[in-house]
C-alpha cells in the first residue's frame, strides 16, 4: 500500500472528527431526515404500485432503485451545499425479495439479462421469480435498504415490507386482505422486537442506572448478543450471518467491512462460527484452525464482544433474521454468494445475476490499460468511499422528473455499456470489489458433521470474499473453510433457501451536552414508528415471560414508553411533502 496518512492526521480523522458536537449531530440529523424521506418515498411508490394500484405502468425493481437513488441525490442537493466536501448516497437502494439477503440492486439494463440468464425461472410460483422478473407479487417479503451521508456522517436504514393481497373495507379504503401468517411472520416479529430492544438497550448505555437488573449493570457486546439471540430463539428463528450491531464512525459505516480491516472495530457480529459454537456447546471440540487473527491484522480490527457501549457514539443496528419453521432438525444458516460466472442457470432454485454495487479498495493501485477504465476510475474516486452503482457515475443521473423518462433511461443504458467495459478491468485488478448478492441457505447440521476434514487444522483458503478479520474460517471448530462450506451447501440435497427479514436503524447516543433536552437522549436517525411501521402479521410464537432475559426485555419496552422517568428516544421524522416530491409523484402518474 503506497498511501499513508500521518499520525496527526489520523488522530484528527478517526478521533477528533467523531466527537459529537452540535454541528456533527446536525449533519447526522439531516442525513437521517433525508434517509427517512427516501424510505417513505419508496414505500409510497411500492404501495401505489401493488396495493393502491394508482400507478398503471409496471415498474421493475431496477427502476424503483434508480428512482429512489435519484430522489436521494436531488434531496441531498438542497442541504449543506458548498458547506461540506463530500455528501452522497451511503448505500444505493437495494430491494431484496424473500431469500435474497442483501445486495439486490440491478441496473436498468439488467432486466432483460436476468430473464435470459434464468430461463428456468418462468412461473410466478418459483421462489426466485420476483427477483428475476423485477415484478413483485403478493406474499413477498421485501427488504428495502438505503442510506445517505453528509460529510461522512452516515445514516442507513433497512425496512421490511410485505406485499399483501388487497381488499376494500366498508369505508371504501384499500386495506390488506389479512395478516401474514407464514413462517415469515415469525421472523418479522422477531426482527422488529429485537431491533426495538437493542435501541432501548443502547439508550440504557446513556443512563446505566435504568438498565433492568436481570440484564446486568452495563451495556456490552455480550448483552446485545444475548438479547438478540433470545428473541430470535423465542420466535423459532435464527440470526443470519452478516447481522451486526456496530459502532459507526465518520466514513466508517460498515460499507467497507471485509475490505478494510478497520482499526478499533467495536460491535457485535453474527457469523457461522457463532452458530457452530451454539451447536457444539455440549460436545468437546477444540478449535482446529491455526490461523490466529493477530497474525493477519491488528487485534483491534477483530470484532469481539468485549466492549462497552459509551455515550457519544453512533451505532448501527442491522439485524437479519430467518425463520426456521420450515425445518425440523438442527442446521446451519449460511449465505451463498450469487454470481454470473456460471453464465446460465439450469435449476429453478439457482440464481444467476451480477452484482450492482461496487466498493473502491483504496489500498490497491494499478496502472490501467484502457482509457475507458481510467476515466471510470477517476469518476469512482471522485464519487467517494461508499458503495456505488455504475449508473451513479453517468451524467444522466439523477433522473429528472420533469423530462421524458424513457429517453433518460435509454441514455443511461448507453452509458452503462462503456462503464461495464471499464469496470471489468477495474474489478479484475481488485481496484473495486463488488458487494455480493447473498442468498440465505440452510444446511442440515448432520450433513456438515459428516463432512471429512482432510486438511485438518490447516483449513484456510482465500476464496471467501468480504470476511471480517479473525472470521476468515466460517466453522473454525470443525475446520471447514469457506470453499468447503460453499461446496457443502451446493452438494446437500436437503439445503433449502430461507426467507430473510431485515431491519436496520442508525442511532446517535447524545450525552446531555448535545441532546435537545436536559437529559441525555438517544437520537434515532432512521426507522421508528413513522416510517418503519411493522407489517400486519400474526405469529404463533411469543416471548416466554419466565425467562429473566425476556423479563428484562419487557421492562425495557416499558421504559421506552415512559416519557417522564424512562428512556428518552427521539425519532427523526421524514420531511414534509414538498414540491420536488410532488413532481416525483407526477412522473409516477406519467409513467
Amino acid at each position: 500500500m503506497d498511501l499513508a496518512v500521518s499520525h496527526e492526521d489520523s488522530q484528527i480523522l478517526l478521533k477528533d472528527k467523531n466527537v459529537l458536537q452540535e454541528s456533527v449531530v446536525d449533519k447526522y440529523r439531516t442525513a437521517g431526515q433525508i434517509t427517512q424521506t427516501a424510505l417513505k418515498y419508496l414505500t409510497g411508490l411500492i404501495n401505489d404500485l401493488y396495493h393502491y394500484k394508482t400507478i398503471q405502468r409496471p415498474m421493475t425493481i431496477a427502476e424503483l432503485c434508480l428512482l429512489t437513488d435519484s430522489f436521494m441525490v436531488t434531496r441531498l442537493e438542497q442541504f449543506y451545499k458548498n458547506k461540506v466536501n463530500e455528501r452522497g448516497i451511503a448505500i444505493p437502494t437495494t430491494i431484496d425479495v424473500d431469500q435474497v439477503s442483501s445486495g439486490w440492486s440491478p441496473e436498468v439494463d439488467d432486466t432483460k439479462n436476468l430473464l435470459n440468464w434464468n430461463k428456468e425461472t418462468t412461473s410466478p410460483e418459483d421462489s426466485l421469480f420476483s427477483s428475476v422478473s423485477g415484478i413483485l407479487k403478493a406474499g413477498d417479503v421485501i427488504k428495502i435498504t438505503l442510506g445517505v451521508h453528509i460529510d461522512g456522517y452516515t445514516s442507513e436504514v433497512s425496512h421490511t415490507m410485505v406485499i399483501y393481497p388487497v381488499a376494500v373495507n366498508e369505508a371504501g379504503a384499500t386495506v390488506p386482505a389479512g395478516p401474514l401468517l407464514d413462517v415469515k411472520a415469525d421472523a418479522i416479529a422477531a426482527t422488529h422486537i429485537a431491533t426495538e430492544t437493542v435501541v432501548a438497550l443502547l439508550a440504557c448505555a446513556l443512563t446505566p442506572e435504568k438498565l433492568p437488573t436481570s440484564l446486568g449493570n452495563v451495556v456490552n457486546g455480550q448483552l446485545i448478543r444475548l438479547v438478540v439471540d433470545t428473541i430470535a430463539r423465542s420466535y423459532n428463528c435464527g440470526v443470519v450471518p452478516g447481522s451486526r450491531v456496530r459502532r459507526i464512525r465518520r466514513f466508517l459505516a460498515g460499507q467497507n467491512e471485509g475490505i478494510v480491516a478497520e482499526r478499533e472495530y467495536k460491535g457485535v457480529v453474527w457469523t457461522e462460527s457463532h452458530q457452530e459454537a451454539q451447536l457444539l456447546i455440549n460436545s468437546d471440540v477444540k478449535d482446529l484452525t491455526v490461523a490466529t487473527s493477530s497474525t493477519r491484522s491488528a487485534p483491534s480490527a477483530v470484532p469481539v464482544d468485549d466492549f462497552t457501549v459509551n455515550a457519544g457514539e453512533v451505532f448501527m443496528i442491522d439485524l437479519k433474521i430467518a425463520p426456521l419453521g420450515q425445518v425440523s432438525k438442527k442446521g446451519l444458516i449460511t449465505l451463498e454468494v450469487v454470481d454470473s460466472a456460471r453464465g446460465k442457470s439450469h435449476r429453478k432454485d439457482e440464481l444467476v445475476a451480477r452484482a450492482g454495487l461496487f466498493v473502491r479498495d483504496y489500498a490497491q493501485a494499478h496502472a490501467l490499460k484502457l482509457k475507458t477504465s481510467r476515466k471510470l476510475l477517476t469518476s469512482i474516486d471522485n464519487n467517494g468511499v461508499y458503495p456505488f452503482k455504475l449508473s451513479h457515475l453517468s451524467p444522466n443521473f439523477p433522473i429528472d422528473p420533469t423530462k421524458d423518462y424513457d429517453e433518460q433511461i435509454s441514455a443511461l443504458d448507453k452509458d452503462l455499456k462503456s462503464f461495464r467495459l471499464g469496470m471489468s478491468e477495474i474489478a479484475n485488478n481488485y481496484l473495486c470489489v463488488e458487494t455480493p448478492i447473498e442468498i440465505a441457505k440452510w444446511v442440515p447440521w448432520d450433513h456438515v458433521l459428516k463432512e471429512s476434514n482432510q486438511n485438518g487444522a490447516l483449513s484456510y483458503d482465500a476464496t471467501a470474499n468480504l470476511t471480517l478479520p479473525g472470521h476468515e474460517v466460517p466453522l473454525p471448530k470443525l475446520g471447514i473453510a469457506a470453499l468447503k462450506l460453499k461446496s457443502l451447501v451446493r452438494s446437500c440435497p436437503e439445503t433449502i433457501d430461507l426467507p430473510v427479514v431485515r431491519e436496520c436503524t442508525t442511532v446517535v447516543l447524545c450525552d446531555s451536552d448535545v441532546s435537545s433536552g436536559e437529559r441525555p437522549e438517544l437520537l434515532r436517525l432512521t426507522g421508528g414508528s413513522k416510517t418503519s411501521q411493522p407489517s400486519w402479521i400474526h405469529s404463533d410464537y411469543e416471548l416466554n415471560n419466565e425467562d429473566p432475559t425476556v423479563q428484562g426485555i419487557f421492562q425495557l419496552a416499558e421504559l421506552v414508553k415512559d416519557k417522564r422517568f424512562g428512556l428518552v428516544v427521539r425519532e427523526t421524522q421524514p420531511m414534509k411533502q414538498t414540491v420536488s416530491q410532488g413532481a416525483a409523484e407526477e412522473t409516477g402518474m406519467q409513467m
Partner: protein
C-alpha cells in the same frame, strides 16, 4: 645621517627608534619604497611634498577625472576608451556631413527649379565649396597656434579631424560600385544591379523608398568620407581598408534590423502609405518581435503544458491593461510568447520531458479509510533488489567452485605414496 637607526630606502639616519618608526609610517617613506622597488632613486621630502601638492591640486580641479585616475586603468581599457572617444567624434562628423549634404541638396533643388541641369551642377559645386571653406576657416585659425592635442577643446579637435577627413575624402560616384575598386558602369541602375548580384547589396522596403540615389549617395559618403563599414561601423584607416573589410566580412548590405539602424536611413523612406489601416500598422510594429522569435527558434523549445499555457494566459489577462497585445519577454528561463505559450530552453529539455506521477491528494473519506486500515500487504516485487540477490548467489557459487579447485590441489592422488619424513 648619524645614529644607529637608519632608513635604507630614504637613506636617512635617526637618533631614536621612535623617530625611525614614525618615519616608516609616513607616505613619503612608502613612496620611496615603491620607487626603490621600481629601481628608481629616492627623492627628498621637499620634492615629495611638492609632488603631492601638485597632485592634490589637480584632483580638486577635476573630480570626475580624479575618480577615473584613481582606478588603475589597464592598457586594454585605455585603448578601448580612446577608441570609443574616436568613434564618438566620427559619429558627430558624420552627422555634420549629413546635415551639410541635406542643406546643399535642398538648395540645389531650389536652384534646379530655376535653372537647367548643367547650371544646377555648377551651382551645387559652388555651393558645396563655400560651405566647406566657411567651416574650414575657423578650424584653420584654431589649428594655427600648434598647441599639443590634449590642450585643444573638443570642438577644435573635431574640426581638425574633419579637415583631415575632408582632405582624404574620395568621392564615389553613383555609377561606381561601392565595394569594388574602380568598377564603373554606364548608369546608376546597372551599378545597383551589379552590387546586388555580386555583393548582395539589397535595398530593403523598396516599395516605400523615395530617394534611392540619396540613400546610395549617403552610403558612398559613409564609405568614402568616413571610411566606415556600413554594417558594423568598423572604422577603417582608409577607403581601401574599409572596402577590404566589407568584402572580407561580407558586410555589403544595408542593416535593417534594430530601431537605430532603421532610423539611420529613414529619411530616404516614406511610410505614410502604410499608415492607412491600423491593422497594417500593428503588423509592422510586430515585425521586430517576430524576427527575434525566428532567430531563437532553433534554440527554444515549446513547452506545451496546458497548465502553463493557462497560467500564461491568466497572466496576460491580468496585465492586459498596461501591456501591449503582442507581449514577448524572457524571464531568464522561459520565453513568453504573445500567444501565451511559454517556450523553454533546450538545456532544460530533460526536465520538460519528465512525466512525473502527480501527487495524489486524498479526500477526507479516503484518508479516513487509509488511516483506519490495518491490513498488511506483501511488499511489492523489487526487480533491483532481486538482481542484487542474484549477483550475490552467482558470486557465492563462483567462490565455492574456486575453493573446491584449491582444495583439489592438495588432495593426495598417489595412493601408495609414503612420505619419507614420516618414516
Amino acid at each position: 645621517m648619524s645614529g644607529v637607526y637608519t632608513c635604507n630606502s630614504c637613506s636617512l639616519g635617526f637618533d631614536s627608534s621612535q623617530d625611525q618608526r614614525d618615519h616608516m609610517k609616513t607616505e613619503w617613506h612608502r613612496y620611496n619604497l615603491k620607487r626603490r622597488v621600481a629601481q628608481l632613486p629616492a627623492i627628498s621630502e621637499l620634492v615629495f611634498n611638492t609632488k603631492v601638492r601638485a597632485l592634490s591640486q589637480a584632483e580638486s580641479e577635476d573630480d570626475a577625472r580624479k575618480r577615473d585616475e584613481k582606478k588603475q586603468l589597464t592598457k586594454k581599457e585605455i585603448r578601448r576608451r580612446e577608441k570609443e572617444a574616436l568613434l564618438e567624434k566620427k559619429k558627430k562628423l558624420l552627422a555634420l556631413a549629413q546635415e551639410n549634404y541635406l542643406k546643399n541638396k535642398a538648395l540645389a533643388e531650389n536652384q534646379a527649379q530655376k535653372e537647367n541641369t548643367e547650371a544646377e551642377k555648377e551651382v551645387k559645386e559652388e555651393q558645396t565649396a563655400p560651405v566647406v571653406t566657411e567651416e574650414n576657416v575657423p578650424t584653420e585659425e584654431a589649428a594655427a597656434p600648434a598647441v599639443p592635442d590634449e590642450e585643444l577643446t573638443e570642438e577644435q579637435l573635431a574640426e581638425r579631424l574633419m579637415n583631415q577627413k575632408l582632405e582624404s575624402k574620395v568621392d564615389i560616384p553613383l555609377e561606381t560600385c561601392l565595394f569594388c575598386t574602380n568598377e564603373s558602369f554606364k548608369d546608376f541602375e546597372t551599378n545597383l544591379d551589379h552590387m546586388f548580384k555580386n555583393h548582395g547589396f539589397y535595398i530593403p522596403e523598396q516599395k516605400f523608398l523615395t530617394d534611392k540615389e540619396g540613400l546610395v549617395h549617403y552610403l558612398s559618403e559613409k564609405i568614402g568620407l568616413g571610411n566606415m563599414c556600413i554594417v558594423c561601423n568598423y572604422q577603417g584607416r582608409s577607403l581601401e581598408a574599409v572596402r577590404a573589410h566589407m568584402l572580407a566580412k561580407r558586410h555589403c548590405k544595408i542593416p535593417y534590423e534594430s530601431e537605430n539602424e532603421r532610423l539611420e536611413i529613414s529619411e530616404f523612406y516614406d511610410f505614410t502609405a502604410s499608415y492607412a489601416g491600423y491593422a497594417e500598422n500593428t503588423k509592422k510594429t510586430q515585425e521586430p518581435s517576430e524576427v527575434v522569435a525566428d532567430d531563437g527558434n532553433d534554440e527554444w523549445e515549446d513547452v506545451s503544458s496546458d497548465e502553463e499555457n493557462a497560467e500564461a494566459t491568466e497572466d496576460n489577462d491580468e496585465d492586459e491593461d498596461d501591456l501591449p497585445d503582442e507581449y514577448l519577454y524572457n524571464d531568464g528561463t522561459e520565453l513568453h510568447l504573445p500567444t501565451g505559450v511559454k517556450v523553454g530552453h533546450r538545456s532544460l529539455q530533460r526536465y520538460y520531458k519528465q512525466n512525473l506521477k502527480p501527487e495524489r491528494i486524498l479526500t477526507e473519506g479516503q484518508g479516513t479509510l487509509v488511516a483506519a486500515e490495518t491490513r498488511t500487504f506483501l511488499p511489492a516485487f523489487d526487480k533491483q533488489k532481486y538482481n542484487v540477490k542474484q549477483r550475490a548467489w552467482k558470486s557465492e557459487n563462483m567462490d565455492k567452485k574456486r575453493e573446491d579447485k584449491r582444495h583439489a590441489k592438495f588432495v593426495n592422488n598417489q595412493p601408495y605414496y609414503r612420505d619419507q619424513l614420516l618414516q
